[in-house]
Symmetry: C2
Subunit: 237 residues, 2 copies
Amino acid sequence: VDVAKTPTARDRARAELTAEIKDESRRQLAAGGAEALSLRAVARELGMASSALYRYFPSRDDLLTALIIDSYDALGGQVEQSVSARRAADHLGRWRAACRAVRSWALEHPHEYALIYGSPIPGYRAPRDTVEPAARIPYALLGVVRDCWQAGRLEPAGTDLALSRTMARQVDLVAGLTAMESVPRPTLAGVLIAWTHLFGAVSFELFGHLEGVFDDKGAVFEHSINQLAHLIGLRPT
Amino acid sequence: VDVAKTPTARDRARAELTAEIKDESRRQLAAGGAEALSLRAVARELGMASSALYRYFPSRDDLLTALIIDSYDALGGQVEQSVSARRAADHLGRWRAACRAVRSWALEHPHEYALIYGSPIPGYRAPRDTVEPAARIPYALLGVVRDCWQAGRLEPAGTDLALSRTMARQVDLVAGLTAMESVPRPTLAGVLIAWTHLFGAVSFELFGHLEGVFDDKGAVFEHSINQLAHLIGLRPT
DNA sequence: TGTACATCAGTGAACGCGCGTTCACTGATGTAC
DNA sequence: TGTACATCAGTGAACGCGCGTTCACTGATGTAC
């Protein structure tokens, strides 16, 4: 039985130090990636014994999990905020804002991005708790498109291809999982493609695969998200 | 002055051991990822002193570079072979084959895939030599589309959106770099999107972002590549 | 309000481990005359 | 074809380093009476 009480001084100190540990960890992440994150180094930087960290995180993996969840939440929050900063009727604007939020957050936090969308960390198994925060991003994209559909302003351009039976089943699955049953299936399939593409584009840019190919990566990104918005059926107002 | 001669016994032994070192390294890569690759462990497995490896690779980074180049070449080769295994006139078939080759190679060699398309290894700087083998994959995709265009059978569906001025400049750049000047710019832009999407889709699947969302990931993949082929203008024969 | 006890935070030493790289060396293979 | 010398492959010890985690402990904070 857990009754919420006024937090004691100890509680506050604990929350503060937990935050400081994560902050310092993020700093190390930014410096050398996930593999370079070391409990001993974090403790050193914070001026405490390395064994003290075990009062806050039972193991290095648990610290990583906390950072992963924080990253998903930070990105998800940024996306949601960018969306709602635009008028609800400007569906294309909201779409673009969501996509741009992903890219700019990634460029600002490359190692946190790599932590969640890069290669899985060997030996690390993501626990269930990461699923929900991770879902915020695709859910935000889906929301924009659903709103547009419900407003009767969706004019799909790329839905002339019928979904195969197997694909239709997969889309039905997602529709159920995300409570998007009202949206036409080919549109959902289009959002799926756009979602995949969005992270493909950001990863390519961030991981250096566009280096020496394009000099204006922003322009390429803009083109992609517009093209995919068009395919799905989002039109300028 | 380097004159090609009959390889001596020493030369052959050297080539063989170099290959064995890389093979064992790949095995370790498959077991624990790039960070787990250790010169000492490789030497141990090969029954030799760890210092002996320095006769073959001047440092761990150089070994990694060799593995990266090998991986690009293996994937590139697989893609090229899959393409040319189909009749030249079956452009859509060739396109699909290329995309499927990427996915199946990735599923068979997940850690090698992560090595080249996952998060960059912290502290490792890819040398110029990796650029050319890396280019084989996009080049193969471009080749299929160029052939289709030159055969007069390209029927683009997604080129009703004009390219922005900045985007047009980026595409011109690529056209020059890849000797694809003959192909219409919007088509090139479409291939770029498809290329980005292809690796986005494979990475999502491989890195676990579709887990719990789809159960038939093959079906989703098939849908994506068909949809993008359609957008570009590849039609069934 | 004051005291006794339980809980928690943080310490410092230790365990056991593996790593990349260097260096002086031995012995085998290749080359030039 | 045979010998002298140079080149190269591989050894084993050593350097210097950092890591995650455990454990018995001290001292401060919180709680129940």
